[in-house]
């Protein structure tokens, strides 16, 4: 066993198929000859086998395809391996992994013939009739079940995995089995969770789980891994189409969430109509609002320089002080209110312009909101201002920010630039800053 192993392991040139075939042959021999090693190995293989049987059976078709790179197969093998064998610490991990594949491959190879020749192995595998493979798969499954029962906890783990795998494989196998050697649908060998497909397949295969898993699918050399479902055509074109259709339905669902009032509508045509209407209405709304902005434009006497100054200070992220603190006047953030102070006498709209801009300064928004309430209370707002501010009842957080800044700016910008803590109190600093 030990000698045989390295031999096989050294066959780096061989494809996975060959190696597995070889290994299988060897294993069978071992099986007959060495009980002890066999038992361990069988444990290994059985445990692996039982869990991987279905996959392996699937692999059989894959191996028959033969053209796929070793890496792909090994990846799959590894992937399959990982799940059921967390505790499988074999002294020859590689062997174990390969064995898994090999075991699956075994029956097929066995059925093909005793030839040990590599080339023959490949040729045999490629020419292996699916019927044979199917029967072998059945046998294998039976064997695996037997062996699984004989094994201990490893098999338990693997059986669990087997169930998981079972559904997948059954899903694979549901499609026309006999055509497997050809351009059959492919297993989804994506190791990453292909949740959509796997879940679909699990559901689909739930019905057919009682069926015996049979080898069905050939792994294509291409790498679009799609799982063929029961009763569906499995040529490449229809598969690709199916993938596209699924993608499109995914997106339609997402759009359904975006477009309000689309929950009741089923069917792509109706949905598309709704989407078109919604996009049209949004575009019309934009036009209407821009018209409104054009007409409602107030007299603007603002200073562009001030606005640019605001931009300059936009990066100021220092803690915006509570409005009542004098020393903070020198803080750059306060400077942002300068334009407002100048503007306010002209019209409140400027603050409308400025405040949304300022709301974008993250630091301002939060601290502003706190002192704002108290400030409002203490300040002597004109009724007009009060009503104006009350009109803008914030419904969304963003509105709140706007509102708060609007209020603050408004209050601050009243006639004489008041020191924030004192309503209507002129402040030297404020006027100084105003010059900036």
């Amino acid at each position: 066993m030990n000698t045989a192993l390295p031999e096989m392991l050294q066959c780096s040139d061989l494809t996975m198929l060959e190696r597995q075939r070889d290994r299988l042959k060897w294993q069978e021999e071992q099986f007959q000859q060495q009980q002890q090693q066999q038992s361990y190995f069988s444990e290994l293989s059985c445990g692996v086998f039982s869990s991987q049987t279905n996959h392996v059976q699937g692999f059989q078709g894959g191996f028959m395809g033969g053209a796929s790179g070793d890496s792909v197969l090994s990846d799959m093998v590894m992937a399959r391996q990982v799940k059921p064998d967390p505790g499988l610490e074999s002294p020859w991990p590689e062997l174990g992994k390969v064995d898994m594949a090999a075991m699956g491959f075994g029956p097929c190879g066995y059925g093909n013939g005793p030839s040990f020749d590599m080339n023959h192995a490949i040729s045999r595998t490629s020419s292996c009739p699916p019927a044979v493979a199917a029967t072998k798969a059945v046998e294998v499954k039976v064997n695996s079940e037997k062996m699984a029962s004989a094994v201990g906890k490893e098999s338990f783990k693997k059986r669990k995995a087997e169930k998981l795998q079972n559904t997948k494989v059954v899903a694979e196998n549901e499609s026309k089995r006999i055509k497997s050697c050809e351009d059959e649908g492919e297993e989804s060998k994506i190791t990453g969770p292909n949740t959509n497909k796997s879940s679909n397949n699990k559901e689909a295969s739930g019905d057919a789980s009682k069926e015996n898993s049979k080898v069905s699918e050939v792994q294509k050399p291409d790498f679009i891994h799609v799982r063929a479902r029961r009763g569906q055509a499995t040529d490449s074109h229809s598969l690709a189409e199916r993938v596209r259709r699924e993608k499109i339905s995914e997106r339609m669902k997402y759009l359904q969430d975006l477009v309000p009032g689309c929950n009741k509508i089923t069917g792509k045509a109706g949905m598309l109509d709704e989407i078109i209407n919604y996009v049209q209405s949004l575009q019309r709304q934009v036009e209407f609002l821009s018209m409104k902005l054009a007409t409602v434009n107030p007299r603007l006497d603002f200073n562009i320089d001030n606005l640019y100054a605001k931009e300059v200070f936009s990066s100021c992220t220092t803690n915006f002080p509570t409005l009542g603190m004098a020393p903070e006047m020198a803080n750059p953030p306060y400077l942002q209110f300068n334009p407002i102070q100048q503007v306010v006498p002209c019209c409140g709209v400027e603050m409308g312009i400025n405040s949304p801009d300022m709301t974008l300064r993250r630091t301002i928004s939060a601290p502003v909101s706190i002192p704002d309430a108290s400030f409002l209370d203490s300040s002597c707002l004109t009724m007009h201002q009060c009503s104006a501010m009350q009109q803008i009842q914030p419904t969304a957080t963003w509105d709140v920010e706007l509102q708060n800044l609007y209020n603050v700016a408004f209050d601050q910008g009243r006639s004489t630039p008041p020191f924030p803590s004192q309503p209507f109190a002129g402040s030297i600093e404020a006027s100084d800053l105003k010059e900036i």
Partner: protein, 178 residues
Amino acid sequence: MDSQHLNPSSLKSRFTARFLRALIKINAQKPISSSSPREIFQRYRRIKVAADKSMAYSVRSRRTWSRATLWKLRSRSRRRLASSSRRSSIKTRTTTTTTTTTTSTNHRAAIVEKTSHEKENKEDHVGLAVQAEALRELVPGGESMDLCNLLDETAHYIKCLTTQVQVMKKIANLYSLE
């Protein structure tokens, strides 16, 4: 409700900043107390363009529709510049405009060609072709996409449009509060 921190790099913030800046520019150009409809209409057009432009810029070139919008705007401005600067020389103007138009038509022709080709290859919803066409017209840059990508772009476009409408509504509200 608690004040959440605005994400300064969110789409909304970016769009708002840009749009406000554009608005200010537009308003600064023509301090409007006059209400001549023509001026208003001009301003309306400019504001609309500014809104679309700022939204497209906020999205950069990450999306086909934003790229198409920006391209459209740029070509339009180029055409306008060309026509206005070369008004004297008719020949040159026609050449320029024709070149620009030819480039645009070539571009569009290429797009259409590609579209039809793609459609032939990947058409599996024959029944939805009509609506897909309508959607293509609505979404900028939608002519050159198959249904799958078109839906993707539409989703993003809808998201951006809703943001745009939201911001503009708020600004309009603030404007109207005098």
